[in-house]
Amino acid sequence: MRKKKGRMEPHQHDERCEEVFALLSDYLNLELPPEACQEIEAHIADCSPCIEFKESLRKTVDLCRQYQPTELPGPLGQEAKAQLLEAYGRMLAARTSNQSE
């Protein structure tokens, strides 16, 4: 039977590693209940493979957040800009008309 997410029961060291492994993103995102976080931290403090793995995942997330795209759009053409400005003008006109009603 599957255990409730975020809860770890006492069991073998190896199984705990697997539970931590499954919950690491939720842990890094601070999306776990406090007691589940405490259990993970208690396990990690005493488990160097989990520390290493957690750090590598944290760095992966950092890299994703720092990522700057290599591919950028071409300059906005005159016709495309005119089309957008026209839509924006209609938007402002509709808002003004709604406010005056």
């Binding site: 994703c64 720092q66 990522y67 591919e71 950028l72």
Partner: protein
């Protein structure tokens, strides 16, 4: 741009403040283009999605009652525009990623349990991301099946919340969390392979076998 600044920009746009239109387009157009390019795989499609999304934002601005939700709203429109535009993806095929395939191999070393892992301490921890690492990351993202790719782009690149991402993709919060974790694990594994000395060549070989297959 911080979310607060973005919300303020949306307020100024709605109020018709001078310069708001240009700043709004300059800020969101590259973002939408980049998301669409990684989702659709074609430059022209991504350019069109960016234009169509911005048009739609202006045309349906009466729905924008909460400027603090501007990023979420823009990406929801962009996601739908991408779906309309979708051709056969040049990126990864639609497969499910299983947690087991990313579990690191374990071994005993003098009575101590260890995992097979690269030395991640050499990886830059600050903003100094090298171009090689950027390319590696981009390849890893492109290799992800579409449902995982969209989640990591919205959650980790655009830093939208789980709830916002779930709303944009029209899935549950739990689905977003599951897909995000597997996407991160897949990317982590590619970086780990790279750091363990397999390097760019190995990555390119793998991309040649998986990355260019049509999705559907």
């Amino acid at each position: 741009m911080e979310r607060d600044t973005e919300s303020e920009l949306a307020r100024q746009l709605i109020a018709g403040k001078a310069g708001a239109f240009d700043r709004f387009v300059d800020h969101f157009r590259p973002k939408i283009f980049h998301y669409s390019w990684l989702m659709c795989g074609h430059r022209e499609d991504a350019e069109e999605v960016a234009q169509e999304t911005l048009l739609k934002v202006f045309e349906s601005s009466e729905q924008l009652r909460e400027p603090e939700k501007i990023r979420s709203w823009v990406f929801r429109i962009a996601k739908n525009a991408c779906l309309m535009k979708r051709r056969k993806s040049m990126f990864a095929p639609p497969t499910e990623l299983s947690l087991d395939e990313f579990m690191p191999a374990k071994y005993q070393d003098g009575g101590q349990l260890r995992i097979e892992i690269a030395d991640w301490s050499a990886l830059p921890d600050g903003k100094a991301m090298q171009s090689e690492m950027r390319e590696l990351l981009e390849r890893a993202i492109r290799e992800l099946p579409e449902v995982y790719r969209s989640v990591i782009l919205l959650r980790d690149m655009e830093e939208l919340s789980t709830q916002e991402t779930a709303h944009i993709l029209e899935v549950s919060d739990d689905v977003v969390k599951t897909r995000l974790h597997r996407a991160r694990l897949a990317i982590r594994q590619r970086i780990d392979e790279y750091l363990r000395g397999n390097g760019v060549k190995e990555v390119e070989e793998k991309e040649g076998t998986h990355g260019t297959a049509p999705a559907r």
